[in-house]
């Protein structure tokens, strides 16, 4: 199999993930989109590893790490989303805006 096919697929996956992150409001969906992006990375790594065959299986090793990492991230992410839900009653990422800049400057001078 030529190298280009998995790479293309990875790019596609990554872009899909980026789109999801930017466009979806639901925090859970955003987390899933991240998974897509990380999987694109994994695909890349494995493909390159297979292409390189350097004997160390560096790419595959890193892919394993990435999977672990993704799991940890999702774990923490879900905890934060849960906290968000507890505070706000929903899990929409773009409506949590308590911390935005206050529009008018509360200063009497200057």
């Amino acid at each position: 199999m030529p190298l280009i096919l998995p790479l293309l697929l990875a790019v596609l996956l990554f872009c899909l993930g980026v789109y999801g992150v930017l466009a979806r409001r639901n925090a859970i969906t955003i987390l899933m989109s991240f998974e897509l992006m990380l999987n694109a990375v994994n695909l890349n790594l494995v493909a390159f590893d297979a292409w390189r065959l350097d004997g160390l299986a560096t790419g595959q090793t890193l892919a394993v790490f990435v999977i672990t990492l993704a799991a940890a991230e999702i774990g923490l992410g879900l905890a934060i989303v849960l906290l968000l839900f507890r505070g706000h009653g929903h899990v929409d990422a773009d409506t949590a805006r308590d911390l935005r800049e206050q529009p008018e400057l509360q200063e009497n001078e200057l």
Binding site: F34, L38, D54, A93, A96, L99, E101
Partner: protein, 483 residues
């Protein structure tokens, strides 16, 4: 592969920090009988001991070079995953001092009552572990893992108060961070594909020799890696999360983010730029220069109209990182670490002062500081001094000379435009801090801030002030961190 004594030595500090983290967690979980005060004190002591071990270690070993987890390379010198060397010493010193300062700021009666002490210190030590590893990391896998070990506990710390603001801040930081990790990993995957290795040593030797067709790929990959760090250190345009997160987090955690987390990111980027993906002459360095210019300008400008102390510090920390990126972009580790050290000391002090005021005046507005040089002369003068150091004007010579070194680094690299942008930003930065200083000096104040300041806060702030004064008189100390 077996662990040698050198390997153990090299990872001694992260290891002790990690062990300390576990100890703290276990102690807090298992020992429920003691009073809150005693538990807090014990935990603080354990945490402090772990960090102090690290400081003692680097003080003793500061001149040695200890490559760890090495394997002989096919071509060139051995490939190592973690190296203990002067640069590592400098970064660790900064990180550990910053961590110690945050621990001091979190001492009993200072830390918010809602925050669970054990978890807090556990997360702090964990992040510090990651930070130290990151500063010594010399392969991309270690970098990624270490970075995540720094980041994830940090978000947890932000959310530790479990309120609306905390969760929102944590979410923003988390989402941005995860995106950055994904982008960086994506870049790493291509870097691996292009060079066939994750060792920085190997990458740097192979990059110039790669197929010209792959140059663009390599460039994009490097860019992604740098951008990933850009998120971490909140370089513009990846900075959006930072002010919100600082504002949402407890002040101590904001201090932690500004000091340890940011230093870790800068350290990691420094390692990457100087040892790996962006050898001198690479256009990736230009990218970092652009990032530096953008970051300092936007950070300072946005700080110009802030009404809240923490937000002002948040934006100004973005501006400071911009200045930091300048010597970093030209690979001047000495200037960058020196800058980082001065920044860490005074930022800690400033956050300490803010923490004290914010405890009694939760609104955290700049106007709360009105007339403080008269009503709270010690705290007021110290805060003025910190701000002056941040602005880089006398008497804050620590700030002045680190900026000076940054200018020198940039000019020696013949990047005139960046130097000009920096000069303009010195001015904008001064305008930012002057507003605050003006409030401190303004008399008469309707309702001047005056309280009995908690002893630990006095200790931390005066230590920071003392350190800043010493560094101002002997700025060479700053540049001796990396020799």
């Amino acid at each position: 592969m077996t662990m040698t004594w050198t390997d153990w030595q090299a990872i001694a500090v992260p290891l002790v920090l990690a062990l300390g983290a576990i100890t703290v967690l276990l102690a807090d979980a298992l020992w429920r009988t003691g009073s809150k005060q005693v538990r807090h004190t014990v935990i603080t002591l354990i945490t402090g001991a772990a960090i102090l071990f690290g400081l003692a270690f680097i003080a003793v070993q500061r001149n040695s070079v200890k490559p760890a987890f090495c394997r002989p390379a096919v071509e060139g010198p051995a490939q190592c995953s973690l190296v203990f060397e002067p640069l590592t010493v400098g970064l660790w010193a900064v990180l550990l001092i910053g961590g110690l300062g945050v621990v001091g700021l979190s001492a009993y009666r200072l830390l918010d009552v809602d925050i669970p002490v054990g978890e807090y210190h556990f997360l702090l030590l964990s992040a510090l572990t990651g930070a130290t590893v990151l500063a010594g990391a010399r392969d991309l896998a270690t970098v990624v893992i270490a970075l995540e070990v720094v980041s994830l506990p940090s978000f947890a710390m932000v959310a530790l108060r479990r309120d609306r603001r905390g969760s929102e801040g944590a979410l923003k930081a988390f989402l941005v961070s995860v995106l950055s990790t994904a982008v960086m990993l994506f870049g790493i995957s291509y870097l691996y594909g292009v060079t066939g290795s994750l060792y920085l040593q190997t990458i740097v030797t192979r990059l110039p020799a790669i197929d010209p067709d792959l140059r663009r790929v390599a460039f994009a990959a490097g860019l992604f890696v740098i951008v990933g760090f850009g998120f971490k250190i909140a370089a513009v345009p990846f900075h959006g999360w930072l002010p919100d997160t600082y504002a949402g987090a407890p002040v101590e955690v904001a201090a932690f983010l500004a000091v340890v987390s940011k230093s870790a990111g800068v350290g990691g980027l420094l390692v990457l730029v100087t040892f790996g993906v962006a050898p001198s002459g690479s256009s990736l360095r230009t990218v970092v220069c652009i990032l530096a210019a953008l970051t300092m300008t936007v950070g300072n400008l946005a700080a110009l109209r802030q009404a809240e102390a923490v937000r002002l510090l948040a934006w100004s920390s973005i501006g400071q990182v911009g200045f930091l990126l300048a010597p970093l972009a030209v690979g001047d580790a000495q200037a960058a670490v020196g800058y980082l050290a001065a920044y860490v000391v005074v930022t800690l002090g400033a956050f300490g002062a803010v923490a004290v005021v914010q405890r009694h005046r939760p609104a955290g507005l700049l106007t709360d500081y009105r007339g403080m040089v008269r009503s709270e002369p010690g705290l007021g003068v110290a805060l003025v001094f910190f701000l002056v150091v941040l602005a880089g004007l006398p008497p804050g010579l620590a700030g002045l000379f680190t900026k000076f070194a940054a200018f020198q680094a940039v000019l020696d690299a013949h990047i005139g435009w960046l130097a000009a942008v920096m000069a303009v930003n010195v001015m904008i930065g001064l305008a930012v801090y002057l507003r605050w200083i003006a409030e401190l000096f303004r008399l008469p104040a309707d309702d001047p801030f005056s309280v009995d300041i908690e002893n630990p806060a006095v200790a931390v702030i005066s230590t920071c002030a003392g350190a800043a004064v010493v560094l101002s008189i002997l700025p060479s100390t700053l540049f001796a961190l990396v020799t």
